[in-house]
Symmetry: C2
Subunit: 336 residues, 2 copies
DNA sequence: TTGAAAGCGCTAACAC
DNA sequence: GTGTTAGCGCTTTCAA
């Protein structure tokens, strides 16, 4: 096909200089109305759509924002991305994404690769990065927002909540309903540091209350409804007297309730189930599963907002920390 | 912070010219082993990580691949993205994403904005774009893959399957189990053209078999488990004699089964439910919901593969069409 | 095998 | 208000 249109083509078509065309297209002030109109018209006519590469190189700032998540299979992260995408809409910034698969080495490579696009900012998941990654990030000199977690020292800004506290709080809430034979079922705890933090908080609350953990099963690999079923089956076979199970998240809890209902157990009367996140799937079983509702979309929006603000301001996030605490939903558990 | 490292810094540190450094870093042949090692070492030492912006501008091809999806709230699309991300891992290409919210005007703007990053290729969802968008795309002169659908004329390459056929086939399968009082419940049919195509195929199969549609309810807005509950409630109140409901997707079907189980209906003995996609959530109710399992991850992988192939080859996808047909899973329905 | 020169398409900074 | 001059940091081309 014919050569791609450049600013020079627009300028020629509009009968002005390249520079005036550039200014008119970007909405710079100090351009006459007449020029603006002619340039815009010319651009539209010849089907010009700019070259961010050249613009970014020239102005040494790209309107690209990197978003790094551990996985896309867990709906939580697409929801964060969705929040980012919403906040970025209409700003001219474009999100670039990378998936680490909960692997810190991959995370390093992805971040490194993203940085070479000279993004305006980076949104990454969690507070735990390798030393090399932290060095890379702090040398990048762009706003960084760590999301989902605030149990630790952020590199720059962060938006999230304390998973440790979330685990602690739900344990206390479950204890307050009278449950005493409480088990724990979790997945991917070696890699998912946030799930591990919730577990820690959960166990601490039990200990604080003098209630021993009545049983525990864990598995490796990503959480899913199927793994939840399996873990529920396993824990209930090994510890049949449980009156409550805390799952590391809602996917597992959903699998758990399916198993329990199928085997004729009354949920939550006979066995209380609790998960984490407040996913849509929980609404399929209204009131039956306790959970901590997290604000994933809002976290994504807030993270993008911080970057936007920094970019438009002095380039610094000011080390902002936004805490969006989950809200506990006990549903029918509290009456039982 | 100190000025960012450039190729000149690396060259200086390695005692070679900028050009040799560039070649060494990119693994060009015709560079001496000695130079390669010195340059690599120098780069590592000073913490150099390149500038894709400059490289892309200079070589007029960016290692960026645009991925445009209608929504992130529907797990199907993150799964496609996940497939893309997997296929791109280690190739140096980075995915950029955009969300259209099923809005063709937004789609146009997003694609336009993406094109100005001069991506190596574009992966977009579906076959229905506005005339303006199609013009934009065909003028872009890069490989384009349309995903998820193949009912229509692709712009370039496409990876997907016929939704119309998928709807037709599941209807035939349900009819074969003996169901005759079949209802349809759907969401977002005005915007989700693929769901609408499935419905069309479904209705056509019923008509072909001389079985009238026994009832229909629809709603606007994105599908979710909650909307599935509501639709199930509505359709069963209006048409209590149904022996089967086909939902526009699995999210709705999952909401439907929750409603049915809660109200004490036997699934699938009393009422058969069918969805679409084969989501993980269906596994929570093993065998109880019929569905067509779609290969989202594989579709994403294949789409990215086509682009990669085209970029490494002559720049053309050759108008490839990859059909990944869904497989029907009837579970316990077939025995009922 | 290496290097020097010439851009890629745009914008910042300064004239006019 | 508009144009001119220099780059941004790399790669392509061509010469050595």
């Amino acid at each position: 096909m014919r050569k791609r249109k450049t600013l020079v083509d627009v300028a020629a078509a509009a009968g002005v200089s390249k520079m005036t065309a550039s200014r008119a297209l970007r909405g710079d002030k100090d351009v006459s109305k007449a020029s603006i109109e002619r340039v815009r018209a010319a651009a539209r006519e010849i089907g010009y759509y700019g070259n961010h590469l050249a613009a970014s190189l020239s102005s040494s700032r790209a309107e690209l924002i990197g978003v790094v998540v551990p996985a896309l299979a867990n709906v939580v992260f697409p929801e964060v991305m969705s929040g980012v995408s919403d906040a970025l809409r209409g700003t001219g910034f474009q999100p670039v994404f990378g998936v680490t698969e909960y692997d810190t080495e991959k995370e390093y490579e992805i971040i490194r690769s993203m940085l070479s696009w000279r993004p305006a900012g980076l949104i990454i998941t969690g507070l735990e990065q390798t030393e090399a990654t932290r060095k890379l990030l702090s040398g990048a000199d762009i706003p960084i927002v760590q999301t989902m977690d605030c149990d630790g020292e952020p590199l720059d800004a962060c938006v999230g909540f304390s998973h440790s506290k979330a685990g602690y709080d739900i344990a206390k809430a479950l204890l307050a309903t009278g449950r005493r034979r409480i088990g724990y079922a979790g997945c991917n705890l070696d890699k998912d540091t946030r799930a591990a933090k919730r577990r820690q908080g959960f166990l601490r609350a039990l200990a604080d209350s003098g209630v021993p953990l009545a049983g525990e099963v864990t598995a490796s690999g990503l959480s899913s409804i199927q793994s939840g079923r399996k873990l529920a089956e396993e824990i209930l076979k090994r510890y049949p007297d449980l009156d409550c199970i805390y799952f590391s998240n809602d996917d597992l809890a959903a699998g758990g309730i399916c198993y329990c209902l199928e085997t004729g157990m009354a949920v939550p009367e006979q066995i209380a189930l609790a998960g984490f996140n407040g996913l849509d799937i929980i609404e399929g079983f209204p009131g039956r599963i306790a959970t901590s509702k997290t604000a994933r979309h809002a976290i994504g929006q807030a993270a993008a907002g911080i970057i936007l603000e920094a970019v438009k301001g002095n380039g610094s996030t000011g080390g902002q920390r936004i805490i969006l605490e989950p809200t506990i939903s006990l549903g029918a558990l509290q009456k039982a």
